[in-house]
Amino acid sequence: MSMLFFYALIGVGLFTLGLLALVVQPHLLQKILALNVMGSGVFLLLVALGGRSQPVVDVVPQAMVITGIVVAVSATAMALTLMLNLSRSSPGAQLPEDQSADS
């Protein structure tokens, strides 16, 4: 039973870890990865806590997470396309602000 909470806490950890990386990492690919990790964290929390309804697992969060995974891949595809477009016009795949901090 407490393992469910352990997974949920790992989910929280992934969420905040992703948030930290999203904020501090300059490269867009890293930011995209960070968002995916955040998403995984949320999903993990959702599904893990759904296991508290023994004997039968609550599947509604599972259905929600499947929905969420599809959204995530759609968003990732869009983000990667945008990133490639951006790096065509300005190499480095970083947002302008982050670049100017460099110079």
């Binding site: 948030l19 959702l46 508290r52 929600m64 959204v71 968003a75 983000a79």
Partner: protein, 487 residues
């Protein structure tokens, strides 16, 4: 006939219609424009139908799939939904017509299906009564908005769209985590059920924080506004109009609904006051930044940051003085949507006309595009909150609430914001009258693009004269008539 029409599920049609049109447009790219225009008109018609239905029968609700909450999903339409749906329909139709002049035929297949999906997302969002359903509509909305924002393909617009995408995804994830926590504590994602169950608990507070932060990010509340000005300024003009007028309002709409439905367990005003302070900062910061801009679209975009601030000023007022102040906010959402859409359309006209949007080089545009400048002026009146306009009515109501409760700070911020707004609006108008040091050839702007801007601006003014009937409409379902949590 009437009896049958009143049975029609207008609300469901409002979701299915743009979705179907988007698919048709996707299948038949060559006809996307005509399909879209037809759909736009039908949506307007359907909203009228829904409005009539609501005035006759009161609040509308629909049980999707025939499964009652908490198992299934319900749709819900009251006066506030109606207001937002109608605003979207009006702005949507005007922008649709405008875009036929703005986009070349080759761009049609990139614009129309996405825009129709965005419209579907908006309608679905305003009708949702289920927080997870809201999450899905939010994602559909955010992703389609980002796509539209990147349409020009310029370097600026791509980087702005990227930033927008990251922000909107982050906001959605925070929202999702919040509703996940709520679900696991209270066992439902239906707003009505949740609102009965939610109490003052740790999880409620965590959800309150996550959801509020996520939605504030999507609404571009200061200091989360960083993504908005570049995204709105570098998008194509009709898209900027949609983003500023409707998309940021949608996330605020959710915030307000949840605030009234779920988060009324708060016994003190800490969070409300914090939102109010951020709103006040947004008003000042956005206005000052707008004043400092040299490009028209950036100016208009920063003006949106400021105007969003006004929406948040109402949180502390509602906390101490009751929910009636939300009427003012609803009114502000309407009039800002109309006026700001008009302003972005104007900016699009001016860019088309002069090939740039530097304010000091507008070069007697008042004589060459009188209709466009008139639209800017009228929209500006509403943005400044001067009478007679929808913006004035909203500002009057807010100010009245602030003064009646002795919220001097808020009242002062509102006055200051109005003055700054006047400064940036008239900065543009002043340069519209004088010749530019480097005069340029005027490119002709299609008449429909000019008249659509004027139409929206005129409606923003007219909104100042129909406050009473409009508020009756908004009041269907009495969402704002309950007293606040603190008597």
């Amino acid at each position: 006939m009437g009896a049958q029409l009143i049975q029609v599920d207008w609300a469901v049609v409002l979701i299915m219609l743009p979705l179907s049109a988007a698919m048709l447009g996707f299948l038949l790219p060559g006809m996307a424009r005509n399909i879209g225009l037809l759909a736009a008109l039908l949506i307007l018609f359907t909203v009228v139908g829904l409005g009539w239905q609501l005035t006759q029968t009161g609040v509308y609700s629909h049980v999707a799939g025939g499964w009652l909450a908490p198992l299934g999903i319900q749709l819900h339409a009251d006066g506030f939904s109606l207001l937002m749906l109608a605003t979207s329909a009006i702005v949507g139709v005007a922008v649709s017509i405008y875009s036929t002049g703005y986009f070349k035929a080759a761009d049609d297949q990139r614009f129309w299906p996405t825009w129709l999906l965005l419209w579907a997302a908006l309608n679905a969002l305003f009708l949702a009564a289920d927080v997870f359903n809201l999450y899905v509509t939010l994602e559909l909305l955010g992703l389609s908005a980002v796509t539209l924002a990147s349409l020009t393909g310029s370097k600026d617009s791509v980087s702005a769209a990227m930033r927008y995408l990251l922000s909107t995804l982050l906001g959605s994830l925070a929202f999702l985590l919040g509703i996940g926590l709520l679900y696991h504590q209270y066992g439902s994602v239906d707003i009505a059920i949740l609102s009965e169950r939610v109490n003052d608990s740790t999880v409620s507070w965590a959800a309150l924080g996550l959801i509020t932060a996520g939605l504030a990010l999507k609404t571009a509340l200061f200091p989360f506004h960083f993504w908005l000005p570049p995204a709105h300024a570098s998008a194509p003009a009709p898209v900027s109009a949609l983003l500023s007028a409707l998309v940021v309002k949608a996330s605020f709409y959710i915030l307000l609904r949840l605030w009234l439905g779920l988060f009324d367990f708060q016994q003190d005003s800490t969070v409300a006051n914090m939102l109010g302070i951020l709103g006040a900062t947004a008003v000042l910061w956005g206005s000052i930044q707008a004043l400092r801009q040299i490009r028209l679209k950036m100016l208009v975009a920063y003006s949106t940051v400021a105007q969003i601030g006004y929406l948040f000023l109402a949180f502390p007022l509602a906390q101490t003085g009751g929910n009636r102040v939300w009427y003012a906010v609803a009114y502000l959402m309407l009039s800002h949507a109309l006026a700001k859409a008009a302003m972005f359309l104007v900016a699009g006209n001016m860019m088309l006309f002069g090939g740039h949007d530097r304010i000091v080089n507008l070069d007697r545009v008042v004589q060459r595009l009188p209709v466009t400048v008139a639209a800017f002026g009228l929209a500006g009146v509403s943005i400044m909150g001067l009478p007679p306009s929808g913006g004035f009515i909203a500002k009057w109501l807010l100010l009245e609430a602030a003064l009646a409760q002795g919220h001097w700070g808020i009242a002062g911020i509102m006055m200051l914001g109005g003055i700054l707004a006047a400064a940036y609006v008239f900065k543009v108008l002043g340069y519209a009258f004088i010749p530019s040091p480097v005069p340029h050839q005027a490119v002709s702007v299609p008449a429909r693009m000019q008249w659509m801007a004027l139409l929206l601006a005129t409606l923003a003014i007219m909104a100042g004269f129909v406050a009473q009937p409009l508020m009756q409409l908004i009041g269907i379902g009495a969402l704002f008539d309950s007293t606040g949590s603190m008597p």
